[in-house]
């Protein structure tokens, strides 16, 4: 799920680049760039949710999260 989110993020970047290539009006460009940023934000949310799933499901994670008690200094 984390990879899925990270794979979505470049789509937002290319949307931003397409905005300045395809349009000359500043309003259209701004709208497209904001859409690109929104896509990136969605990808980031998916990636963060993937991270949270790994933390909560120790069977699926590739690191040892520590699941017990408190830790001292």
């Amino acid at each position: 799920m984390r990879f899925a989110g990270l794979l979505v993020m470049p789509a937002g970047f290319f949307l931003s680049i397409a905005a300045i290539l395809l349009f000359s009006g500043s309003a259209q460009r701004a709208a497209f760039v904001l859409c690109g940023l929104a896509v990136e934000a969605m990808g980031l949310v998916v990636a963060i949710r993937g991270h949270m799933q790994l933390i909560r499901n120790p069977q699926r994670q590739d690191f040892d999260p520590g699941i017990s008690g408190s830790a001292n200094q």
Binding site: L37, P65, I67
Partner: protein, 428 residues
């Protein structure tokens, strides 16, 4: 942003060189904060690691990275829709010819070398208490050789982000006076990737209940680090204004004023927010707020007015403690130094401020494209590189090493050998 190749007056050159010699104080301050925010059983490893990652990154940048970062034509360019897209420099590997370059080019090399040194401390701080020294060095090498040089070239070396102004009439191109994008935002994104890959510290997120509080072991280091960073940041922002904005020396006073105002406003805001939320001000969070204010000023101190700097700092100071809490409690991101918020989010905020309040039309759009590039292109690239590196060289220390502490496990000695080591209840 203007390319780096503008010749300097003698006064500007001398001033920039003098300021750059003070810039390492920012690095020292961040290193102190990293050490203080970690655990006592990892203090030596943290401080030694700071030196190791700085040394590795600087060497990687000097031998390989500078060749991509340098803005000396002809660069690697491709054409799309009739516009040139300058994506990498074509300088010499292994610093060949640097001694015969003009003095201002040597000065830009020095600036970028210090920038790399500061930036690699950011992921190292986030990986505290579980990131191994060899992994830190590998991360620093990748950062110094590839990641930083690309972004630095795009913004400071006359790359495609710098040319957004001339090619697409977007203000003066992407604006980053002293490294908010290439140092702080990129470093913050690297920190996020490191935290994702290395995972949280053992015991940080129990199955039930809230996350475990693991406060920094020496808040005096942290707060003293804040004071030290101020000197370095003043020098950094002023040197950046001279180098990348071609600002006259007389304009530097406002840059310095903006830097102090931004940090001060952020501290006041964080102090107030934590006082309201917890009943008492939180010292480590206030330190994070102060640093977030400084990071915000990195992008905009040279281009906005003092009232705007106060506003930018206030917003950074309000958002920082809330975001640190959100990351830890709601999103299960274990970031001991708060670097993802302090450097990543505050850096992106500073870039946006520079666009919102810049006098030129189209500047905000250029800044948005810069932010989009960092999030949409660099974060996946950073994660991919680090993920592959983790397959070869494990980032995370083994559970036994984490139980012993990084000092004993990796270095064989403690920072505070006279202290009694208590039994750790979490490993029964």
């Amino acid at each position: 942003m203007t390319p780096a190749a503008l010749p300097f007056s003698e006064t500007s050159f001398t001033l920039a060189l003098g300021l750059l010699l003070l810039a390492p104080l920012a690095i020292a301050g961040v290193a102190l904060m990293n050490a203080g925010l970690g655990r006592s059983r990892s203090a030596v490893q943290s401080l030694l690691g700071n030196l190791v990652v700085i040394a590795t990154a600087v060497i990687a940048f000097a031998l390989v990275g500078w060749a991509f970062a340098a803005g000396t034509p002809p660069d690697h360019v491709f054409y799309m829709s009739g516009k040139p897209w300058n994506w990498a420099g074509t300088g010499h590997l292994f610093l060949r010819g640097l001694d015969s370059e003009p003095a201002h080019v040597q000065l830009t090399f020095l600036f970028e070398m210090f920038s790399v040194a500061l930036a690699v401390l950011i992921p190292w701080g986030s990986g505290a208490d579980r990131l191994r020294l060899p992994a830190g060095a590998a991360i620093a090498a990748a950062f110094g050789a590839v990641l930083f040089p690309l972004v630095a070239h795009w913004i400071w070396g006359g790359g495609w982000l710098a040319q957004l102004g001339t090619n697409f009439s977007l203000g003066s191109g992407a604006l980053d006076v002293a490294g908010a994008a290439s140092v702080h935002a990129l470093g913050g994104l690297c920190a996020l990737a490191v935290v994702w890959i290395a995972g949280p510290r053992k015991g940080k997120f129990p199955h039930e209940g809230l996350s475990t509080a693991m406060p920094g072991h020496n808040i005096v280091y942290v707060l003293f680090g804040c004071l030290v960073t101020l000197v370095g940041w003043l020098a950094w922002n002023m040197a950046g204004s001279l180098l990348w904005l071609d600002a006259p020396p007389s304009a530097l006073v406002v840059t310095a004023v903006n830097t102090v105002l931004s940090a001060s406003a952020a501290l006041v805001a964080t102090f107030s927010v934590t006082r309201i939320r917890f009943g008492k001000p939180d010292a480590s969070m206030c330190a994070n707020g102060w640093l977030a204010g400084l990071v915000t000023s990195t992008a905009c101190a040279g281009v906005v007015s003092p009232p705007v700097s106060i506003l930018a700092g206030l917003v950074a100071g309000i958002v920082t403690p809330l975001l640190v809490e959100l990351f830890e409690l709601a999103l299960s991101i274990d970031d001991p130094s708060g670097a993802i918020t302090v450097h990543g989010a505050a850096g992106l905020w500073g870039l946006a401020v520079a666009g919102i309040f810049a006098p030129r039309p189209g500047q905000f759009l250029a800044q948005l494209i810069l932010i989009s590039t960092l999030l949409g292109l660099m974060l996946p690239l950073v994660y991919l590189i680090f993920w592959l590196m983790n397959r070869v060289l494990a980032f995370r220390v083994d559970p036994d090493g984490e139980r012993l502490g990084m000092d004993l496990h990796e270095l064989g000695g403690n920072a505070y050998p006279e202290f009694v080591v208590h039994r750790d209840e979490s490993y029964r």
